[in-house]
Structures are given as structure tokens and as C-alpha cells.
Symmetry: C2
Subunit: 112 residues, 2 copies
């Protein structure tokens, strides 16, 4: 069940989520999962595409899962990874929401 963007738990996760995607390797991992869509990819599929050592990949995947950007589901021996795109959209929406929040004169904020 996905929480709403105004949920304090989500607020708490904004920086960790951005940090998770702020690493080139993890960004590449996340992107390959985003590109793969709802079906996602098994860990081995990501490894094949990106040629990352298994332990490094596992480490990065864990961070993505920890912050909720990726979900994993075991199917027998293979672990299926899927990017939760909604989570990222919600995170971005937090910024949108508070744009110009401190501007008293509404004629002074043409951006939002």
C-alpha cells in the first residue's frame, strides 16, 4: 500500500531516496528496471546488462530496496526486481508542492 506524499514517513525518505539515485551505478540499475517496466528484471538480468560484479550489484540493490524505490519478489531461485515508479513520482511531487510557499505576494511567484 503506497503512502501519500504528505505522509511524514515519506518526508523522512526524500533525501535517502535522492541519495540512492545520486550514485551513477545505482541510477543505471534503477533505470534499467524502469525501462523494463512492470515486469522488472531478475538480478542476473541487471547484471548481464550492466556488467557489475554480483556483490556490488547486490549491495546497491539493497539500498534501492531499503528506500522503497525497488521491490523484490522471489520466484524460486531467481529474485525479481521491479522499480516502483510511483514512489519516485511522489517524492518529486513533494518539491512541487512547497514551491514558493514562503512568498506572501502571489504576483511574485510566476513559477508555480
Amino acid at each position: 500500500m503506497s503512502q501519500t506524499a504528505s505522509n511524514p514517513v515519506q518526508e523522512l525518505l526524500v533525501a535517502p531516496r535522492l541519495a540512492a539515485l545520486g550514485n551513477e551505478t545505482r541510477l543505471a540499475i534503477y533505470r534499467s528496471l524502469v525501462r523494463a517496466g512492470q515486469n522488472g528484471l531478475p538480478v542476473a538480468g541487471v547484471q548481464e546488462r550492466l556488467q557489475i560484479p554480483a556483490s556490488t550489484l547486490s549491495h546497491h540493490l539493497r539500498r534501492l530496496v531499503e528506500v522503497g524505490l525497488v521491490t523484490q519478489e522471489r520466484e524460486g531461485t531467481t529474485l525479481h526486481c521491479t522499480a516502483d515508479f510511483q514512489v519516485m513520482s511522489d517524492t518529486f511531487a513533494l518539491f512541487q508542492r512547497e514551491c514558493c510557499a514562503d512568498v506572501s505576494d502571489p504576483t511574485q511567484n510566476p513559477c508555480c
Copy 2:
């Protein structure tokens, strides 16, 4: 002049920008600027709000400026900082664009 989101220069900056906002302190700085709207804030204004030592603040601001998330303009002795909200929107748009890009069967990508 802002570049389009498909510009390779922008692509190159995605991870650094997300990383820049992935730090709690920098995220707080950026947010206070976003809230301040087009007018932005002088460095001292940010410091007053967030109570960060000047050298630490200066260091973080530089990183935000380096990746294009914040612009600075000197007005006499004070340095005015403004969040470039468009840059962040463009960065986020890059994700949106490539969602499900690798999915061949269009019935398999209900997310985009």
C-alpha cells in the same frame, strides 16, 4: 538559457543533481530557497533559517550551484541565491520519459 531535458549535458548531470539533494543539509538549503520562490534568499538569510556554520553552508551552496540547481547573483556585498526549479523538473522528466522503454508488448506497461 536552460537546456532541454534530452540534452546529453543534462543526462550527465542527473546523478550529480540527485546526489546534491540527497544530503539532508543540502536538501534543507534547497528547500528553503524553493520556498522563497523567485526572489530567493541571501546566503545570510539561509544561514539564519537553518543555523548552519558559514563555511559549511558555503560549501554546500557551491555544490548546488555547480550542478545548476541554484543560481547566485551578487548585489553589492550580499550574494543572492535562487533555486532553479525548472532544472529539477527537467531532471525528473528524464525518468518519466524512459519508463517502460524496453517493454515490447504495450499491454504490459500500464504505468506510463
